[in-house]
Amino acid sequence: MMTAAALPIAALERVRRAGLRTLAPVLRVPVVRRSLVERASRVPALLTAHAAAAFAVALLAPSLSLVLAPLVLGVPHVAADVRHLVIRRRLPRAAVIALAVSAAALLSLRLLAETHAVSEAWAIRSEHALASVCVLAGAFVGARAGGWRWTAWGALAAALVVGVLALAVPRELRIGLVQGHNLVAVAIWLLLFRRGARRALVPVAVIVLGAGLLASGALLGVTLRHGVLSVFGLHLGAAADLIAPGAGDARGLALTTMFAFLQAVHYAVWLIAIPQDDGRPRGRPSLPMTCRALVRDLSPAGLAVTVALMVAVAASGIVMPLRTRAIFLSLVTFHAWLELALLLFFVARDGFGRPKPSDPQATP
């Protein structure tokens, strides 16, 4: 019997198949067919297309991307974090508990700061101290589990640098974390999940080129003359106050357009590239297959919570987009630290390559 949840999925699958049938003549072209069937080609192609679209939006309506992307894609992105870095990696129970406790503590600190129960300065100092320990512990535990090879020492050194900076120059590190978090997603995909190194160079080149062009300010005139600067009440200048403080008037705007681009790219990495590369190597999973894998990984309750949070954030975003965005981004700061800790853990333990043990039964 078809459940209520399966009905819209089946309908969407029919739409998808109809779309594929319509595109059949194009899909018969060998190059197109190969690039869509072989995952090693499909994922870089999809990521390149998304990066190109993200570049166009960041150039012409950066505020649109800055406001809308977190409200719509923020929750699924955090869920993808948990799914692909924790659940599918079948980490030891103690590690999962430690991660959950750390995430809860970091989230609580942001909650206390948002409700003004503690000062922002105290919250950030405490958050950085705790996060530094998490990152250091991630690299250390990984190094211990995988043997003290050179990648382990590298991960430990990186963790130490991050920890020292987080405590010594918290403001600067915070801004660095905001900007660098988007690149951490690309690094996680490149170092841990991507298949086919040469083909991955194309999206990486597009991302680097796009980010460089926007950051250089060479295209800022285009944004200022032809772009929409204020969307949902967020002006590009106001966004730059928060994202690139101290960078100067024009450079701050340029860095903010770059941030809008990289933020959109990082959502594409977490919601398209990593899920597909963490799945089976050939073929396109249908929507029901993808949904079944989601339920298997997140559990029905976990998936229900994720969907409920998605709806809540989106609904609140319709009423008060800027406030919702600000609170949401503040509360989910913990995931940036945990991504960093887990990246260093896997690099220290397994070197560069697919994190082990990956559960072969769990692939969609």
Partner: protein, 216 residues
């Protein structure tokens, strides 16, 4: 060197760094929710205040794409000290109108009730009687902008009255420095590290005990 020792050494470096940690965390006086309390007010961006919507400016490349620049105004939020009066509003008096009845010189903005701000960033009315900003009330409410005079043609309402301290461009904000508040953090880090080290050593001893038992 044992694994636990390595962790302790690494953590010690972190704790040492915490000792010299600076307290300048807040990104200037920026805040996100107008009307809500904020904690980034004051000259060193660490005092409680209220988030106020105001107008900020940035100097950006000119529209022609050449070497010229133009000023871009945008709505922004700033965290202003509680109880601070509005600063002088209106800025300079408006220049007299060139046509019609001619604008009277705009009155200078009245001083704020509290501390006088460092000057509102209001643009003077280019023409017409640019009435100065009204006195700020309690929390640096923005003064009313200058009205366009009857003879004015291009008078621009002065966005006066925003209280100081005000940072027109984040780039101009200076960072504070100091060593306050790092000690509790350091102790916290140290406590966590010692805890991890203790648990780690205990587990190792247990494992060694199990291994000895198996050998026997």
């Amino acid at each position: 060197m044992g694994s636990s020792c390595r962790l302790i050494v690494a953590a010690a470096v972190l704790v040492a760094a915490a000792g010299v940690a600076r307290a300048d965390i807040a990104p200037g006086d920026v805040c996100t929710a107008p009307g809500q309390p904020c904690q980034t007010a004051g000259p060193t961006f660490n005092q409680p205040g209220t988030c106020v919507a105001t107008t900020c400016t940035r100097v950006v490349p000119g529209a022609g794409g050449g070497a010229g620049t133009m000023t871009m105004e945008y709505a922004c939020n700033r965290c202003l000290l509680q109880g601070m009066g509005g600063a002088a509003g209106g800025g300079a008096a408006g220049a007299g109108g060139s046509a019609g009845q001619g604008g009277a010189a705009g009155a200078a903005g009245a001083g704020g009730a509290g501390h006088a701000g460092a000057g509102g960033a209001g643009h003077a009315g280019a023409a017409g009687s640019g009435a100065g900003g009204a006195a700020g009330t309690s929390v640096g409410a923005a003064g009313a902008g200058g009205h366009l005079g009857p003879g004015g043609s291009t008078g621009k309402a002065g966005a006066g009255g925003s209280a100081a301290p005000r940072c027109e461009s984040p780039g101009a904000c200076s960072l504070s420095s100091g060593g306050t508040g790092a000690a509790p953090t350091s102790f916290g880090v140290l406590a966590v590290v010692l805890g991890i080290s203790f648990v780690s050593r205990r587990r190792r001893r247990n494992r060694e005990g199990d291994a000895r038992a198996r050998r026997r």
